[in-house]
Symmetry: C2
Subunit: 396 residues, 2 copies
Amino acid sequence: MGGLENGATNNQNSSPTTTKPTKTGLSPDSMINLDQGDPTLFEPYWRKVGDKCTLVIEGCDLMSYFSDISNICRFLQPQLGDALKRLHRVVGNALTEDRLIVVGTGSTQLLRAALYALSSPADRHPVSLVAAAPFYSGYKDQAEFLRSGLYKWEGDAHTFDKDGPYIEVVTSPNNPDGAIREAVVNRGEGKLVYDLAYYWPQYTPIIQPLDHDIMLFTFSKCTGHAGSRIGWALVKDKEVARKMTEYMQISSIGVSKESQIRAAKILGVLGEGCRTADSENFFEYSHSILKERWERLRNVVKNSRVFCLPKYPRDYCNFTGKYMDSNPAFAWLHSKEDIDWESRLREHKIIARSGERFGASPKYVRISMFSPPEAFNLFLERLSAIIDNTIGNVVT
Amino acid sequence: MGGLENGATNNQNSSPTTTKPTKTGLSPDSMINLDQGDPTLFEPYWRKVGDKCTLVIEGCDLMSYFSDISNICRFLQPQLGDALKRLHRVVGNALTEDRLIVVGTGSTQLLRAALYALSSPADRHPVSLVAAAPFYSGYKDQAEFLRSGLYKWEGDAHTFDKDGPYIEVVTSPNNPDGAIREAVVNRGEGKLVYDLAYYWPQYTPIIQPLDHDIMLFTFSKCTGHAGSRIGWALVKDKEVARKMTEYMQISSIGVSKESQIRAAKILGVLGEGCRTADSENFFEYSHSILKERWERLRNVVKNSRVFCLPKYPRDYCNFTGKYMDSNPAFAWLHSKEDIDWESRLREHKIIARSGERFGASPKYVRISMFSPPEAFNLFLERLSAIIDNTIGNVVT
């Protein structure tokens, strides 16, 4: 699910520039925002692809509320359903056979649809919602902001010991730390929602096609098209899919058709590009960008006596047919020093998100690896300077 | 707000066809669905307009989450904001000066954003939500489906007598009955949300530009583009707009950009068409369709000793510069007989929505005036037959 939450801003240039800005408006004293996961760095690929992804919509197209009234999710454009099935088959990251697809306004809306579908209005007590720490900071906001009586955020799955029904969100690869995960609580009354936003080959080796009851994906993190707000759920149970669709209906009477047919087109081109070897496919392109960024970041951090980064096992990727590294969308920077790193980085004009927001210590901080190139370069320069100034374990 | 709610289906042909179907798939024994307000009947106009409304989107366009980070509603595409201001100025239905625009996934999402913005999480008790009966049936569903502790549906504003803060939704023209409305409760602690989905010249004379604190509109009912899921709020107070945007952020991280730029284009063409007199503008076209349907329906109903329809005052329309009738999107059919008309009409293969769903008696029934032409014709035939069979007040 998205790396974007309430209260953050995308202003890469929020301080007055007293020195010459670069072409992106950044100057050496600009604030750089690495709080969010706005994946615009993949844009050059889609520019290069040209007309194949161009969408033309006439004024009289797509006017009805409905897309396919024979489908449980009657808001789903059939061409999007088809493109999603083809893509999952090509990538091999999730089983789609005998699943229902529910489309959402991003996977954000779908998570709440799943909570609605898995909770029981008849129950006097709300169902507990948990995720293993460090967990995506947005889950808590989403569970709490309407003070719903259907579900209650109970925090870290590792320490959850309440009796009764519960829902565990399993985020794999995890946001913020990139780890591959399984369920933690494992009790009979539990229901699981897998948030697989980052289970794509640019971020992590595709080990196997996953086969869970509810699996959430998002267009944003697959291709970088965050502005389209398209997410999808692969759902085994018909009644759960029906209730998730009911949620969509009551909360927004469906999902933008324009975005759906655009996602269908782009995901179709992506899937086709993976099957033919005549040019670099999107996953190769995005993987190479992230890999280079991770190498440069690791090179900076390795000189540090203060910081460290998670290590990820090299694994065989069924999609590429090679052993691959993980290159997550976020760096989960950990310091040995007992310092609030969000505040400290902010003094150095780097906006990142404190570990506290993810149910962890403020000694952790999450850094988006998705920033524009100039912002990423400036980040590495500033991080190097911080590290150079902390050689004797004295953090300035 | 939309005429579409949970549980309804759009199947115009749900019974097996034993006789020859028409080109829309309707046969004399097809069920016809007049439950919903799916405004596809305006499609021919947009087909006729041709290339002016055609939208072309490249694969690399619109990728970021953000549209304008200098705006409180940073998800709003600037060209949509501009088009909306121009259109409201041309039509004269709402003031936009010194207002903030918040975009939503339909006005459905915006109503809940407004409830979030106007309620106080610090309060121990939920704020009361009311609307004068007959009220849009979706308000209750939207207020209750998540069992929110922020607000509580209290039903009919006319009978509301609880102390404390409340929110009144004022729907004008009203869904289901087309009446022009003002607030009913009028107490100091009250906050008002105006749902103005149908305050456009095809439905009602535009008497004055409205000037309320929160005014909701939707693309669906303005032009018929329901599939785009675009709504907007005109908001006076900055803090309310900020909280409504926060709601959008937590619930769906913004609103489809593809739909926004398409709405901007189509609403721009619509506004431009109203300023030049070289061809029929959309409001003239849609008004003439609805006017003709209403005349035909009134002709059928006038023979009835059982049914009656609301009468609307003829009023001077500032937009057209003429005295005009109202031609609402729904017919609010009232019977003098004490009969559950939803059930009775269903026996005659007409799906409509009972008055009970709107906080009224089952002697009322809401009929969508938006159905495809063949369905509307068949409806009038069947209604005539029902009326012919009830001459002596014996309803068969």
